[in-house]
């Protein structure tokens, strides 16, 4: 008993298991009741939309979907362009199997990128854990017995829409290529990498923009839009990593945007107090986000 209580107290708030407990205690719903047998596997749901399944299998799956709201909803989500998009890992593995020259990136760069990703992920876990035991989120300090729900002042539901495209004019690029002229290649590649973003394929956009950001370490647009793409694809942790990578100066046209999307990523990773601080900061700026930020932070 004592052991269980200690385990519950030590449970970091980012654990889904902890959220399950809170759900049970606060609403009386046990997630186990959602479990149902007899739905076709997700792969069959997806493939049933294309003419590749043999009969009578195709017929059985289709008639199940017609009557099953869970499978209809799941199928819709599985067919979302972002979900269907390959990840960076998948693209890399496929590439390795083909007789092709290696991508232009140098190995140390790749290693550095992986190391950075791991370190940032580790740091964000530490940050979340530290927060969960700090005074700001009392509901996470002692989950059993449960504390009060998330403080109302710290629940914002920051709306996340695609960020407007603000591309640098060639003449104002912060860095120059070796011949001293503006780096046109970057602009061209940025335009290409933003194509899936404009078309709503955010996971693909995130992969392309990340790779561009590592190719042009001084760029600010690539990491920013990579972060926004992750957020729109529902990957708040990765979003936070990319939105924190290049802090912008106040005069930069993307300054307010970066604060806004970082606040949303912080909220989605459970860092409510940090999210609130950014909203307050935005509320003081006379930018496009001022009104929304003031309303949310005063809620």
């Amino acid at each position: 008993m004592k052991e269980t209580k200690r385990a519950a107290n030590n449970m970091p708030h980012e654990d889904p298991e902890h959220q399950e407990r809170l759900l049970m205690v606060e609403t009386g719903i046990d997630p186990a009741v959602w479990r149902e047998q007899g739905h076709p596997p997700p792969s069959l749901l997806v493939a049933s939309r294309e003419d590749v399944l043999p009969q009578p299998l195709a017929e059985r799956v289709t008639s199940h979907i017609e009557l099953c709201p869970s499978c209809t909803r799941l199928l819709e989500d599985l067919l979302d362009p972002d979900v269907a998009c390959p990840t960076l890992g998948e693209i890399t593995r496929i590439r390795r199997r083909l007789p092709m020259p290696s991508p232009p990136q140098r190995p140390w760069k790749t290693l550095a990128l992986i190391a950075l990703t791991l370190v940032t992920a580790a740091l964000s876990i530490v940050a979340v854990r530290t927060l969960s035991s700090g005074p700001i989120s009392p509901q996470f300090v002692a989950p059993m017995p449960p504390g009060p729900p998330a403080p109302p002042g710290l629940v914002f539901r920051i709306p996340v829409e695609p960020a407007p495209l603000k591309l640098p004019p060639a003449s104002t690029l912060a860095w120059r290529s070796q011949d001293g002229g503006p780096d046109q290649a970057y602009l061209v590649e940025l335009g290409q990498a933003l194509k899936p973003y404009r078309e709503g394929r955010y996971r693909e956009a995130a992969v392309r923009l990340q790779s561009l950001a590592s190719q042009y370490p001084q760029s600010v647009e690539a990491p920013f839009y990579a972060g926004v793409s992750h957020l729109l694809a529902g990957d708040a942790l990765f979003a936070l990593e990319w939105l924190t990578k290049k802090p912008l100066v106040r005069s930069h046209p993307l300054y307010d945007d970066q604060l806004w999307y970082r606040a949303a990523a912080l909220e989605q990773t459970g860092q409510w107090a940090e999210a609130r601080d950014l909203l307050r900061q935005l509320c003081k700026l006379s930018g496009g986000y001022q009104q929304k930020a003031c309303q949310l932070s005063k809620r």
Binding site: Q19, T27, L44, E76, I91, I94
Partner: protein
């Protein structure tokens, strides 16, 4: 005689250099076509199989077939040519898989009654993205663990954990508000 020998030798070098050059050009062309079409081919393979591992396999199979036939396939026929390769692989896969016990008549699918508590809740929690709903459904309706969800979605286990945590948090707020 001497001149003849020199000519023959430089001719052979020329043939050797041009075949090396030709292979280099082929590989560069393949790399260019890969960058151009890999996302679309993968997405198509995913729609035909619903499995990340197979989408990955079939995409690389299709590009390997393209490499074998590179001289016969013009750029204008892409990505349709690659799609056909993937489609043939998928049809063959499902033909074999449908004979297996798990997909046969022996395991009939549920006759749903048209209601579901989880799906009702998911549609009420407006802050959820497709990726959150997928993780929640696979976890709680299908009872999959994180590893299985990772295989199904291509997400890392860490991302899944974060999606489940966020999803449950929103569901809880929805139910308690």
């Amino acid at each position: 005689m001497e001149t003849d020998k020199t000519n023959r030798s430089s001719g052979a070098d020329y043939v050797f250099v041009s075949s090396v050059e030709r292979e280099k050009n082929r590989r560069e062309r393949l790399a260019r076509l890969y960058d151009q079409h890999v996302h679309a081919v993968f997405r198509y393979a995913w729609r035909l199989t619903g499995r990340r591992d197979l989408a990955e396999d079939f995409t690389s199979e299709a590009f390997l077939a393209l490499h074998r036939n590179l001289d016969q396939v013009e750029d204008a026929r892409l990505p349709a040519w690659l799609f056909t390769e993937v489609r043939n692989l998928a049809i063959e896969y499902w033909r074999r898989a449908s004979r297996e016990q798990t997909l046969s008549e022996a395991a009939p699918f549920l006759r749903p009654d048209g209601s579901s508590s989880l799906v009702d809740l998911l549609s009420r929690a407006t802050g959820l993205k497709p990726v959150h709903r997928i993780c929640l459904t696979l976890r709680y309706l299908y009872g999959m663990d994180r590893q299985e969800i990772a295989r199904q979605t291509g997400l890392s286990e860490h991302q899944i954990k974060s999606a489940l945590q966020y999803g449950l948090e929103l569901l809880r707020r929805e139910l308690t508000s």
